[in-house]
C-alpha cells in the first residue's frame, strides 16, 4: 500500500505541476517589461495597455457577457421545464426527446458549429450576436437538462403526489413544491451554462459574423499572431477571476445545499 501511495503521489504532483507551471509562466511574464518571452525587467506596462488601450478586447468581453447571460437564462428556462416534463410525466415520445436532447453533448463542437453555420446560411439569417446566442443556447440546453434531471432523480416522487393529495393543483405544485426543491439544481445549471458560454470558442467561431466578436474569438485572433504580452496580462486576470469564482461557488454550494 505504501509503495502504491508513493507512486500515485509522484503522479499527482506531476499532474499539478503540469497544470500550473504553464500558467505560472504566464503570470510571471505578464510583468515583463519587454515584448517577448525574454525577461528584461519588471513592469505593469502590459496591464496598463490591457486596461486603457484595448478597446476591441473590452467590446468582445462585453459581448461575451451579454451572450453568456442571455443564453444561460434561455437554456436554464428551457432546460428546467424540459427536465420537469421528462422526469415527472408520462407522455408520448418522452424517451426520444430525452435521447435527442443529450446528443449535442456527444457530438464534436465543430460539427455543431458548421451545421448551425450551414443552417443559418440556408435560412438567410445573417451571422451576428443573435446567431451566437442561438448557438450557445443550443449547446447549453443539454447540460442544464442533465444537471436538473440528476437533481430530480435524487428526490422522492411521492413528494409530488403528496402535494396533489393535500389538495394542490398543477400550478401550486409547480411553484410551491417542484421549483423550490430543484432550485439548487437550477442555479448550478445556470452557472454551468455561463461557464460554458464564456469559454466556448469553436462553435462561436463558425456562427459569428463581422463585428460580433466574443472574448475567446478575440483571444484567438491575437494568439494567431504569436506571443503577445497583453494576452499574458489578460490571462492573469482571467485566472484570478476563475480561481475566485471557483472558491466562491464552492462556498456557495455549501450554502445552497444547506438550505
Amino acid at each position: 500500500m505504501k509503495e502504491k501511495k508513493k507512486i500515485s503521489f509522484v503522479f499527482f504532483i506531476f499532474t499539478l505541476l503540469f497544470f500550473y507551471l504553464p500558467l505560472l509562466v504566464l503570470v510571471i511574464y505578464s510583468f515583463n517589461e519587454g515584448k517577448t518571452m525574454k525577461w528584461t525587467g519588471f513592469s505593469f506596462h502590459w496591464y496598463e495597455e490591457l486596461f486603457t488601450r484595448s478597446k476591441e478586447l473590452w467590446n468582445a468581453f462585453e459581448n461575451s457577457i451579454i451572450i453568456a447571460l442571455l443564453s444561460s437564462l434561455a437554456s436554464t428556462v428551457i432546460g428546467t421545464l424540459g427536465a420537469i416534463g421528462i422526469y415527472w410525466y408520462r407522455f408520448r415520445h418522452k424517451k426520444l426527446i430525452q435521447t435527442v436532447s443529450y446528443l449535442p453533448l456527444m457530438l464534436p463542437d465543430i460539427i455543431i458549429g458548421i451545421s448551425l453555420l450551414i443552417f443559418f446560411a440556408g435560412i438567410g439569417l445573417n451571422l451576428s450576436l443573435t446567431t451566437i446566442f442561438i448557438a450557445h443556447t443550443t449547446f447549453n440546453i443539454p447540460y442544464v437538462l442533465f444537471i436538473l434531471i440528476a437533481r430530480l432523480q435524487e428526490f422522492d416522487y411521492s413528494v409530488i403526489e403528496a402535494s396533489y393529495d393535500l389538495g394542490a393543483k398543477e400550478k401550486d405544485t409547480l411553484l410551491k413544491i417542484i421549483l423550490p426543491i430543484i432550485k439548487p439544481g437550477i442555479i448550478a445549471g445556470f452557472l454551468m451554462a455561463m461557464t460554458l458560454s464564456l469559454d466556448d470558442f469553436v462553435i462561436t467561431f463558425f456562427v459569428s459574423g463581422p463585428g460580433s466578436s466574443t472574448l475567446p474569438l478575440h483571444i484567438f485572433s491575437m494568439i494567431r499572431f504569436g506571443v503577445s504580452p497583453v494576452i499574458n496580462a489578460l490571462a492573469v486576470i482571467l485566472i484570478a477571476a476563475t480561481a475566485f469564482l471557483a472558491l466562491l461557488s464552492k462556498n456557495m454550494q455549501k450554502y445552497i445545499y444547506q438550505s
Binding site: 413528494v159 396533489y164 393529495d165
Partner: protein, 369 residues
C-alpha cells in the same frame, strides 16, 4: 367529523400484462380501522393508490360515500395519504409542511396558525415548528406526515406501511398513537402492512391479500382463529398443516387417516366433507399441549393424542417452541412457561413426549374430492 365509507366493485389493474389486482370487491364501513395484510408484491400499494387517485383502475368502481370516484383526481378526493417515505416537503419547515393544505385552500393566517397548533399538539410535536424535515428523527417525521394529512379533515386516511421505517419499540408506540388518533377523529383508516401483529392488534377488520386477490376479510380473531384458507392460516401466525383422507364421519366430527403421521386424526367439520375426500387441516401450535405423561382421555371425548420425540426446543421468553418429530414429520407446539423453573415442567431435547389437541381447535382449509 365522521369517516367516509368505501365500496370497491370488481376492481382490476394490470401493469405490462401482469395482473396485479384481480376483480376485487369489498366494503369498508365509515370510521372503520381496516387493515390490508399480505406478502410483498401482492398489490396492496396498488390498491391503496387507486383509492387515493394516484393510479387509474383498468376496470371496476371505487365509491367513496356512495359517489363514484371515476373523474376525481387525487386533489379532489376525501382521502389523504401517509406515504411510506413520509414525503415531507424538504424545503419547508414542520410548520409550513403542516400548513401547506390550508395555504392551498387560501385560509387566513390566524386560522391556519390555530389549526396547525391544534394538530401539532395532537401529534405531540409542539416546539418543533421551525425545524426542517432533515432535522427530525424517523418517528418525528412520521408525526409531521400524520398531522399534515389530518389537517385537511379527510374522510379517509390511507396509510401505506407507515411504521416500516421505524425501530420495533417506536413502532409499537406509534401504533398505539395511531389508534388513539383514530378514536379521536373518527376517520376511516385504511392501513397497509406486512406485519400481522400490527394488523391484528389495532384493526376493526383485516383483509388478507395474496396475488391480487382478497382471501378473507374478518375481525382479527376471526382471521386468526378460523382461517378459511391455507394461505391465510400460514401467513397469519404460525401453524401446522395435516393432510389426509376422510375415513369416518358422525355428527359434528370426522376422522381422517394421515399417511405421514400414520394415525387417525379427529377434526371438527366446519365444512361438509364426504368419506374418501382428501382434506387439509390447520392447527395452531399454541393449541397443542405437550407433556411427558399420557394425559388420558378426559370429559370432551374429541381429543387427538399423539406421541413423538422432541427434535428441537427454542426458548422464546414467555414460551418455548417445541419441534416434535413423528415418524419424520415435524409438528410445532408452543408451550407457555407457567412455571419454568419447576423441574417436572421442563422437557428436554430428544425426550419422548405426548401431545394432544382438541378436535374443535383445528380448521379445515382445503377439501378435494
Amino acid at each position: 367529523m365522521s369517516g367516509t365509507s368505501v365500496e370497491i366493485q370488481g376492481l382490476s389493474k394490470s401493469f405490462d400484462n401482469h395482473q396485479v389486482l384481480k376483480n376485487l370487491s369489498f366494503d369498508i364501513r365509515s370510521g372503520e380501522f381496516f387493515s390490508i395484510l399480505g406478502p410483498s408484491g401482492c398489490g396492496k400499494t396498488t390498491l391503496l393508490r387507486i383509492i387515493g387517485g394516484f393510479e387509474e383502475e383498468d376496470s371496476g368502481v371505487v365509491l367513496l360515500d356512495n359517489v363514484d370516484m371515476k373523474n376525481y383526481p387525487a386533489n379532489k378526493r376525501k382521502t389523504n395519504t401517509i406515504f411510506q417515505s413520509y414525503a415531507l416537503f424538504p424545503h419547508l419547515t414542520v410548520y409550513e409542511n403542516i400548513a401547506f393544505p390550508l395555504k392551498i385552500k387560501k385560509m387566513t393566517k390566524p386560522l391556519i396558525k390555530n389549526e396547525v397548533e391544534k394538530y401539532l399538539n395532537m401529534v405531540k410535536l409542539s416546539g418543533y415548528e421551525k425545524k426542517y424535515p432533515k432535522e427530525l428523527s424517523g418517528g418525528q417525521k412520521q408525526r409531521v406526515a400524520i398531522a399534515r394529512a389530518l389537517i385537511n379533515q379527510p374522510g379517509i386516511l390511507l396509510l401505506d406501511e407507515p411504521l416500516s421505517a421505524l425501530d420495533a419499540k417506536l413502532r409499537q408506540h406509534m401504533l398505539v398513537e395511531l389508534d388513539s388518533i383514530h378514536d379521536q377523529t373518527g376517520i376511516t383508516f385504511i392501513y397497509i402492512t406486512h406485519d400481522q401483529h400490527e394488523a391484528l392488534s389495532v384493526s376493526d377488520r383485516v383483509a388478507v391479500m395474496n396475488e391480487g386477490k382478497i382471501l378473507q376479510i374478518g375481525t382479527p380473531s376471526e382471521i386468526y382463529e378460523s382461517p378459511k384458507d391455507a394461505f391465510v392460516a400460514d401467513f397469519i401466525g404460525e401453524t401446522n398443516f395435516i393432510e389426509g383422507i376422510v375415513q369416518e364421519k358422525g355428527g359434528k366430527f370426522a376422522k381422517l387417516y394421515s399417511e405421514t403421521l400414520k394415525t387417525m386424526i379427529e377434526f371438527d367439520m366446519d365444512q361438509s366433507v364426504e368419506i374418501g375426500d382428501k382434506v387439509k387441516l390447520t392447527i395452531r401450535p399454541e393449541k397443542i399441549r405437550v407433556k411427558r405423561e399420557n394425559p388420558q382421555k378426559t370429559s370432551s371425548q374429541h381429543f387427538n393424542i399423539l406421541k413423538g420425540k422432541v427434535d428441537e426446543i427454542i426458548y422464546h421468553g414467555f414460551q418455548s417452541k417445541f419441534f416434535i418429530d413423528i415418524n419424520g414429520f415435524i409438528l410445532k407446539a408452543f408451550k407457555p412457561h407457567l412455571s419454568y423453573f419447576e423441574e417436572s415442567e421442563r422437557i428436554g431435547w430428544k425426550e419422548e413426549v405426548y401431545f394432544w389437541w382438541d378436535a374443535d381447535d383445528s380448521f379445515l382449509v382445503e377439501v378435494s374430492k
